[in-house]
Protein backbone atom coordinates (compact mmCIF):
# COMPACT_ATOMS: atom_id res chain seq x y z
CA UNK A 1 0.00 0.00 0.00
CA UNK A 2 2.68 2.51 0.99
CA UNK A 3 4.61 1.89 -2.25
CA UNK A 4 1.46 2.43 -4.23
CA UNK A 5 0.73 5.65 -2.31
CA UNK A 6 4.23 6.98 -2.88
CA UNK A 7 3.99 6.07 -6.56
CA UNK A 8 0.76 8.01 -6.84
CA UNK A 9 2.28 11.04 -5.12
CA UNK A 10 5.41 10.88 -7.30
CA UNK A 11 3.28 10.95 -10.42
CA UNK A 12 1.15 13.82 -9.17
CA UNK A 13 4.00 16.04 -8.12
CA UNK A 14 5.57 15.67 -11.56
CA UNK A 15 2.59 17.49 -13.11
CA UNK A 16 3.53 21.04 -13.99
CA UNK A 17 2.22 23.57 -11.51
CA UNK A 18 1.63 21.09 -8.66
CA UNK A 19 3.27 22.36 -5.46
CA UNK A 20 2.47 19.32 -3.43
CA UNK A 21 0.33 16.24 -3.18
CA UNK A 22 -0.86 14.18 -0.31
CA UNK A 23 -3.04 11.27 0.64
CA UNK A 24 -5.28 12.11 3.56
CA UNK A 25 -7.38 10.03 5.92
CA UNK A 26 -10.71 11.58 4.96
CA UNK A 27 -12.42 11.07 8.28
CA UNK A 28 -9.59 12.16 10.55
CA UNK A 29 -8.25 14.88 8.22
CA UNK A 30 -4.66 13.82 8.80
CA UNK A 31 -1.98 13.14 6.19
CA UNK A 32 -1.26 9.50 5.44
CA UNK A 33 1.60 10.38 3.09
CA UNK A 34 2.71 13.56 1.42
CA UNK A 35 5.15 15.14 -0.97
CA UNK A 36 4.97 18.89 -0.62
CA UNK A 37 7.34 21.71 -1.35
CA UNK A 38 8.76 23.94 1.35
CA UNK A 39 6.29 26.39 2.79
CA UNK A 40 3.22 24.22 2.38
CA UNK A 41 1.46 23.69 5.71
CA UNK A 42 0.99 19.96 5.48
CA UNK A 43 -1.25 19.36 8.47
CA UNK A 44 -3.42 22.38 7.70
CA UNK A 45 -3.83 21.27 4.09
CA UNK A 46 -4.89 17.79 5.22
CA UNK A 47 -7.30 19.03 7.87
CA UNK A 48 -8.89 21.70 5.71
CA UNK A 49 -9.19 19.39 2.71
CA UNK A 50 -10.85 16.73 4.85
CA UNK A 51 -13.31 19.22 6.29
CA UNK A 52 -14.12 20.81 2.92
CA UNK A 53 -14.62 17.46 1.19
CA UNK A 54 -16.79 16.21 4.03
CA UNK A 55 -18.97 19.33 4.10
CA UNK A 56 -19.37 19.32 0.33
CA UNK A 57 -20.14 15.60 0.30
CA UNK A 58 -22.98 16.28 2.75
CA UNK A 59 -24.27 19.09 0.53
CA UNK A 60 -24.07 16.95 -2.59
CA UNK A 61 -25.90 14.06 -0.99
CA UNK A 62 -28.59 16.23 0.57
CA UNK A 63 -29.15 18.05 -2.72
CA UNK A 64 -29.72 14.75 -4.51
CA UNK A 65 -26.56 15.02 -6.58
CA UNK A 66 -25.16 11.75 -5.26
CA UNK A 67 -21.65 10.86 -4.25
CA UNK A 68 -19.00 13.56 -4.55
CA UNK A 69 -16.13 12.30 -6.70
CA UNK A 70 -13.93 15.33 -7.25
CA UNK A 71 -13.77 18.77 -5.67
CA UNK A 72 -11.73 21.69 -6.93
CA UNK A 73 -11.23 24.86 -4.94
CA UNK A 74 -10.05 27.78 -7.05
CA UNK A 75 -8.44 30.73 -5.25
CA UNK A 76 -6.41 33.77 -6.19
CA UNK A 77 -3.13 32.33 -4.96
CA UNK A 78 -3.53 28.72 -6.04
CA UNK A 79 -5.93 25.83 -6.20
CA UNK A 80 -6.68 22.62 -4.34
CA UNK A 81 -7.97 19.57 -6.21
CA UNK A 82 -9.14 16.52 -4.29
CA UNK A 83 -10.79 13.21 -5.07
CA UNK A 84 -12.18 10.52 -2.82
CA UNK A 85 -10.51 7.10 -2.77
CA UNK A 86 -12.65 5.16 -0.32
CA UNK A 87 -11.60 6.20 3.16
CA UNK A 88 -8.79 8.30 1.70
CA UNK A 89 -8.56 11.56 -0.16
CA UNK A 90 -6.02 12.39 -2.82
CA UNK A 91 -5.17 16.09 -2.62
CA UNK A 92 -3.08 18.26 -4.94
CA UNK A 93 -2.12 21.84 -4.21
CA UNK A 94 -1.29 23.84 -7.33
CA UNK A 95 0.05 27.17 -8.46
CA UNK A 96 -2.57 29.60 -9.69
CA UNK A 97 -1.36 29.15 -13.30
CA UNK A 98 -1.56 25.34 -13.25
CA UNK A 99 -3.58 23.59 -15.95
CA UNK A 100 -6.45 22.57 -13.76
CA UNK A 101 -8.07 20.20 -16.23
CA UNK A 102 -4.90 18.14 -16.42
CA UNK A 103 -4.41 18.21 -12.65
CA UNK A 104 -7.99 17.11 -12.13
CA UNK A 105 -7.58 14.17 -14.48
CA UNK A 106 -4.39 13.10 -12.71
CA UNK A 107 -5.94 13.41 -9.27
CA UNK A 108 -8.95 11.35 -10.39
CA UNK A 109 -6.64 8.75 -11.85
CA UNK A 110 -4.61 8.64 -8.63
CA UNK A 111 -7.78 8.17 -6.59
CA UNK A 112 -8.83 5.37 -8.90
CA UNK A 113 -5.48 3.62 -8.46
CA UNK A 114 -5.72 3.83 -4.68
CA UNK A 115 -9.28 2.54 -4.71
CA UNK A 116 -8.34 -0.62 -6.62
Amino acid sequence: MSERVMGVLDALTRVEGVRGAMVVDAEAGVPVASQVSTGVQETALAAMSGALFSRTTDASGSAGLGRLDVLQLEAAGGHVVMAGAGPLLVVALTESEARLGLVRIRVERAAGELSE
Binding site: Q72, E74, P87
Partner: protein, 285 residues
Protein backbone atom coordinates in the same frame (compact mmCIF):
# COMPACT_ATOMS: atom_id res chain seq x y z
CA UNK B 1 -10.01 4.80 10.00
CA UNK B 2 -7.45 2.44 8.52
CA UNK B 3 -7.62 -0.52 6.18
CA UNK B 4 -7.05 -2.67 9.24
CA UNK B 5 -10.09 -1.16 11.01
CA UNK B 6 -12.20 -1.90 7.97
CA UNK B 7 -11.04 -5.49 7.85
CA UNK B 8 -11.70 -5.93 11.57
CA UNK B 9 -15.21 -4.48 11.38
CA UNK B 10 -15.91 -6.56 8.31
CA UNK B 11 -14.81 -9.70 10.17
CA UNK B 12 -16.84 -8.83 13.25
CA UNK B 13 -19.97 -8.12 11.25
CA UNK B 14 -19.53 -11.29 9.19
CA UNK B 15 -19.51 -13.26 12.43
CA UNK B 16 -22.34 -11.28 13.99
CA UNK B 17 -24.36 -8.83 11.84
CA UNK B 18 -25.47 -7.10 15.02
CA UNK B 19 -21.93 -6.54 16.31
CA UNK B 20 -21.33 -3.01 17.70
CA UNK B 21 -19.13 -2.18 14.70
CA UNK B 22 -21.92 -2.62 12.12
CA UNK B 23 -22.68 1.11 11.92
CA UNK B 24 -19.01 1.99 11.49
CA UNK B 25 -18.70 -0.58 8.72
CA UNK B 26 -21.84 0.68 6.99
CA UNK B 27 -20.58 4.28 7.24
CA UNK B 28 -17.26 3.24 5.73
CA UNK B 29 -19.04 1.51 2.84
CA UNK B 30 -21.19 4.59 2.27
CA UNK B 31 -18.14 6.84 2.17
CA UNK B 32 -16.65 4.54 -0.44
CA UNK B 33 -19.80 4.93 -2.52
CA UNK B 34 -20.88 1.32 -1.86
CA UNK B 35 -24.41 2.26 -0.89
CA UNK B 36 -25.87 -1.15 -1.60
CA UNK B 37 -23.35 -2.83 0.71
CA UNK B 38 -23.89 -0.11 3.33
CA UNK B 39 -27.64 -0.64 3.17
CA UNK B 40 -27.27 -4.43 3.54
CA UNK B 41 -25.03 -4.05 6.57
CA UNK B 42 -27.22 -1.50 8.30
CA UNK B 43 -30.45 -3.43 7.63
CA UNK B 44 -28.96 -6.65 8.98
CA UNK B 45 -27.65 -4.77 12.01
CA UNK B 46 -31.05 -3.18 12.63
CA UNK B 47 -32.73 -6.58 12.66
CA UNK B 48 -30.72 -7.33 15.77
CA UNK B 49 -30.64 -3.75 17.15
CA UNK B 50 -34.00 -2.27 16.12
CA UNK B 51 -33.60 0.76 18.36
CA UNK B 52 -30.13 1.76 17.23
CA UNK B 53 -30.51 5.50 16.64
CA UNK B 54 -27.34 6.00 14.59
CA UNK B 55 -28.22 3.08 12.35
CA UNK B 56 -31.65 4.51 11.55
CA UNK B 57 -30.03 7.89 10.88
CA UNK B 58 -27.49 6.34 8.55
CA UNK B 59 -30.18 4.41 6.72
CA UNK B 60 -32.10 7.66 6.23
CA UNK B 61 -29.06 9.24 4.56
CA UNK B 62 -28.65 6.24 2.29
CA UNK B 63 -32.30 6.51 1.28
CA UNK B 64 -31.88 10.23 0.53
CA UNK B 65 -28.91 9.50 -1.69
CA UNK B 66 -31.00 6.92 -3.53
CA UNK B 67 -33.82 9.41 -4.00
CA UNK B 68 -36.09 7.42 -1.66
CA UNK B 69 -37.58 10.38 0.18
CA UNK B 70 -40.48 8.58 1.88
CA UNK B 71 -38.23 5.85 3.27
CA UNK B 72 -35.76 8.48 4.49
CA UNK B 73 -38.60 10.26 6.21
CA UNK B 74 -39.73 7.04 7.89
CA UNK B 75 -36.22 6.40 9.21
CA UNK B 76 -35.74 9.91 10.57
CA UNK B 77 -39.15 9.78 12.21
CA UNK B 78 -38.05 6.56 13.89
CA UNK B 79 -34.93 8.35 15.07
CA UNK B 80 -37.03 11.11 16.62
CA UNK B 81 -39.25 8.59 18.37
CA UNK B 82 -36.15 7.02 19.90
CA UNK B 83 -34.26 10.26 20.47
CA UNK B 84 -36.60 13.29 20.38
CA UNK B 85 -33.80 15.85 20.35
CA UNK B 86 -31.78 14.28 17.53
CA UNK B 87 -30.27 17.05 15.42
CA UNK B 88 -29.63 15.06 12.24
CA UNK B 89 -33.17 13.72 12.10
CA UNK B 90 -34.74 17.14 12.73
CA UNK B 91 -32.58 18.73 10.07
CA UNK B 92 -33.21 15.95 7.56
CA UNK B 93 -36.97 16.02 8.11
CA UNK B 94 -36.89 19.81 7.85
CA UNK B 95 -35.19 19.66 4.46
CA UNK B 96 -37.56 17.00 3.20
CA UNK B 97 -40.59 18.97 4.36
CA UNK B 98 -39.24 22.13 2.72
CA UNK B 99 -38.62 20.21 -0.44
CA UNK B 100 -42.19 18.94 -0.68
CA UNK B 101 -43.68 22.31 0.36
CA UNK B 102 -45.00 21.27 3.76
CA UNK B 103 -44.13 24.54 5.49
CA UNK B 104 -45.69 23.64 8.83
CA UNK B 105 -43.64 20.48 9.20
CA UNK B 106 -40.55 22.27 7.89
CA UNK B 107 -40.94 24.96 10.53
CA UNK B 108 -41.38 22.41 13.32
CA UNK B 109 -38.35 20.35 12.36
CA UNK B 110 -36.00 23.21 11.45
CA UNK B 111 -36.81 25.00 14.69
CA UNK B 112 -36.06 21.81 16.60
CA UNK B 113 -32.72 21.47 14.75
CA UNK B 114 -31.87 25.12 15.41
CA UNK B 115 -32.49 24.67 19.12
CA UNK B 116 -29.77 22.00 19.17
CA UNK B 117 -27.30 23.70 16.82
CA UNK B 118 -28.27 27.31 16.25
CA UNK B 119 -25.18 28.01 14.14
CA UNK B 120 -25.52 25.17 11.67
CA UNK B 121 -25.17 26.92 8.32
CA UNK B 122 -27.51 24.61 6.40
CA UNK B 123 -30.25 24.95 9.00
CA UNK B 124 -29.84 28.73 9.07
CA UNK B 125 -30.14 28.93 5.27
CA UNK B 126 -33.08 26.55 5.08
CA UNK B 127 -34.85 28.53 7.80
CA UNK B 128 -34.41 31.71 5.77
CA UNK B 129 -35.87 30.05 2.70
CA UNK B 130 -38.75 28.82 4.84
CA UNK B 131 -39.36 32.23 6.39
CA UNK B 132 -39.54 33.85 2.99
CA UNK B 133 -41.98 31.23 1.75
CA UNK B 134 -44.12 31.62 4.83
CA UNK B 135 -44.30 35.37 4.19
CA UNK B 136 -45.08 34.81 0.53
CA UNK B 137 -47.81 32.37 1.50
CA UNK B 138 -49.31 34.77 4.02
CA UNK B 139 -49.22 37.60 1.47
CA UNK B 140 -50.69 35.41 -1.24
CA UNK B 141 -53.79 34.80 0.84
CA UNK B 142 -54.81 38.44 0.61
CA UNK B 143 -53.09 39.70 -2.52
CA UNK B 144 -54.25 39.15 -6.08
CA UNK B 145 -53.57 35.68 -7.28
CA UNK B 146 -50.19 35.77 -9.04
CA UNK B 147 -51.00 32.81 -11.29
CA UNK B 148 -48.78 29.83 -11.85
CA UNK B 149 -45.10 30.69 -11.75
CA UNK B 150 -42.36 28.42 -13.01
CA UNK B 151 -39.67 30.61 -11.49
CA UNK B 152 -38.07 30.29 -8.09
CA UNK B 153 -39.74 32.29 -5.33
CA UNK B 154 -36.87 34.70 -4.67
CA UNK B 155 -36.59 35.45 -8.35
CA UNK B 156 -40.25 36.39 -8.44
CA UNK B 157 -39.75 38.73 -5.53
CA UNK B 158 -36.86 40.40 -7.32
CA UNK B 159 -38.93 40.77 -10.49
CA UNK B 160 -41.72 42.41 -8.55
CA UNK B 161 -39.32 44.91 -7.01
CA UNK B 162 -37.57 45.95 -10.19
CA UNK B 163 -38.97 48.30 -12.78
CA UNK B 164 -37.52 46.56 -15.79
CA UNK B 165 -39.79 43.61 -15.22
CA UNK B 166 -37.58 41.11 -17.04
CA UNK B 167 -38.11 37.66 -15.57
CA UNK B 168 -35.05 36.83 -13.43
CA UNK B 169 -35.91 33.16 -13.71
CA UNK B 170 -35.04 33.40 -17.41
CA UNK B 171 -31.70 35.12 -16.90
CA UNK B 172 -29.83 32.09 -18.20
CA UNK B 173 -32.17 31.39 -21.11
CA UNK B 174 -29.30 31.98 -23.60
CA UNK B 175 -27.60 28.89 -22.15
CA UNK B 176 -30.67 26.70 -21.91
CA UNK B 177 -30.44 25.25 -25.40
CA UNK B 178 -27.11 23.58 -24.80
CA UNK B 179 -27.45 19.89 -24.14
CA UNK B 180 -25.42 19.42 -20.95
CA UNK B 181 -26.96 22.49 -19.29
CA UNK B 182 -29.22 21.63 -16.33
CA UNK B 183 -29.60 25.14 -15.02
CA UNK B 184 -27.91 28.05 -13.28
CA UNK B 185 -28.60 30.14 -10.23
CA UNK B 186 -27.53 33.53 -8.96
CA UNK B 187 -27.13 33.30 -5.20
CA UNK B 188 -26.77 36.11 -2.74
CA UNK B 189 -24.12 35.96 -0.03
CA UNK B 190 -26.53 33.96 2.17
CA UNK B 191 -27.19 31.30 -0.46
CA UNK B 192 -30.65 32.56 -1.39
CA UNK B 193 -31.65 32.29 -5.04
CA UNK B 194 -31.96 35.68 -6.71
CA UNK B 195 -32.30 34.58 -10.30
CA UNK B 196 -32.13 31.60 -12.59
CA UNK B 197 -33.49 28.14 -12.05
CA UNK B 198 -32.81 24.46 -12.47
CA UNK B 199 -34.52 22.00 -14.78
CA UNK B 200 -35.11 19.92 -11.66
CA UNK B 201 -37.42 22.62 -10.35
CA UNK B 202 -37.72 25.50 -7.98
CA UNK B 203 -37.48 23.46 -4.79
CA UNK B 204 -34.28 21.81 -5.92
CA UNK B 205 -32.72 25.16 -6.80
CA UNK B 206 -33.44 26.66 -3.42
CA UNK B 207 -32.25 23.58 -1.59
CA UNK B 208 -29.06 23.47 -3.65
CA UNK B 209 -28.43 27.16 -2.98
CA UNK B 210 -28.81 26.70 0.76
CA UNK B 211 -26.64 23.61 0.87
CA UNK B 212 -23.93 25.00 -1.40
CA UNK B 213 -23.68 28.06 0.78
CA UNK B 214 -22.41 25.88 3.62
CA UNK B 215 -19.80 24.35 1.31
CA UNK B 216 -18.78 27.77 0.01
CA UNK B 217 -18.31 29.02 3.58
CA UNK B 218 -15.98 26.10 4.19
CA UNK B 219 -14.15 26.83 0.91
CA UNK B 220 -13.64 30.48 1.87
CA UNK B 221 -12.24 29.38 5.22
CA UNK B 222 -9.98 26.79 3.57
CA UNK B 223 -8.56 29.27 1.05
CA UNK B 224 -7.86 31.78 3.81
CA UNK B 225 -6.29 29.30 6.21
CA UNK B 226 -4.03 27.92 3.50
CA UNK B 227 -2.89 31.38 2.49
CA UNK B 228 -4.38 31.06 -0.99
CA UNK B 229 -6.15 34.40 -0.87
CA UNK B 230 -9.73 34.98 -1.92
CA UNK B 231 -11.71 32.03 -3.26
CA UNK B 232 -12.76 32.29 -6.88
CA UNK B 233 -14.68 29.15 -7.48
CA UNK B 234 -15.60 25.60 -6.67
CA UNK B 235 -16.06 22.69 -9.02
CA UNK B 236 -17.89 19.58 -7.88
CA UNK B 237 -18.01 16.39 -9.91
CA UNK B 238 -20.69 14.19 -8.39
CA UNK B 239 -22.33 10.94 -9.39
CA UNK B 240 -25.21 12.87 -10.97
CA UNK B 241 -23.86 16.19 -12.17
CA UNK B 242 -21.05 18.68 -12.50
CA UNK B 243 -21.57 21.85 -10.46
CA UNK B 244 -19.46 24.98 -10.87
CA UNK B 245 -19.72 27.87 -8.43
CA UNK B 246 -18.10 31.18 -9.40
CA UNK B 247 -17.51 33.87 -6.79
CA UNK B 248 -18.96 37.26 -7.64
CA UNK B 249 -18.59 40.57 -5.87
CA UNK B 250 -22.06 40.28 -4.33
CA UNK B 251 -22.75 36.58 -4.22
CA UNK B 252 -22.08 33.70 -6.56
CA UNK B 253 -23.32 32.01 -9.68
CA UNK B 254 -23.88 28.27 -9.88
CA UNK B 255 -23.95 26.25 -13.08
CA UNK B 256 -25.27 22.69 -13.02
CA UNK B 257 -24.49 20.39 -15.94
CA UNK B 258 -24.79 16.77 -16.94
CA UNK B 259 -22.15 14.56 -15.38
CA UNK B 260 -20.49 13.90 -18.73
CA UNK B 261 -20.32 17.56 -19.79
CA UNK B 262 -16.92 18.33 -21.36
CA UNK B 263 -14.63 20.19 -18.94
CA UNK B 264 -13.99 22.97 -21.45
CA UNK B 265 -17.71 23.50 -21.94
CA UNK B 266 -18.22 23.75 -18.18
CA UNK B 267 -15.50 26.39 -17.84
CA UNK B 268 -16.82 28.42 -20.79
CA UNK B 269 -20.40 28.16 -19.60
CA UNK B 270 -19.45 29.17 -16.07
CA UNK B 271 -17.80 32.24 -17.56
CA UNK B 272 -20.88 33.12 -19.62
CA UNK B 273 -23.13 32.56 -16.62
CA UNK B 274 -20.93 34.83 -14.50
CA UNK B 275 -21.22 37.58 -17.12
CA UNK B 276 -24.99 37.25 -17.15
CA UNK B 277 -25.07 37.29 -13.34
CA UNK B 278 -22.89 40.41 -13.20
CA UNK B 279 -25.20 42.17 -15.61
CA UNK B 280 -28.10 41.11 -13.38
CA UNK B 281 -26.43 42.74 -10.38
CA UNK B 282 -25.40 45.86 -12.30
CA UNK B 283 -28.47 46.52 -14.39
CA UNK B 284 -31.21 44.64 -12.59
CA UNK B 285 -33.21 41.91 -14.26
Amino acid sequence: MTERDLQRWSREVAEDPGAPSFVRLARAYRREGRRSAARDVVLAGLERNPEHVDAHGLLALIHVEEGERQQARDEWETVLRLDPGNFGASRGLGFLALERGDLTAARRHLDAAARVRPDDAAVVQASRVLERREKAGAGGATAEAPGPAPAAGPAEETAASTPAGRDPARLFAPLAGEAPFLGALVLDSQGLVLAGGLKAGEEQGELLGALLNAAVAEAVRTARMLGLGGWRGLLLETAQAVVHVTALERGSVVVVAERDAPAGWVVRTAGRAASLARSFFEEGP
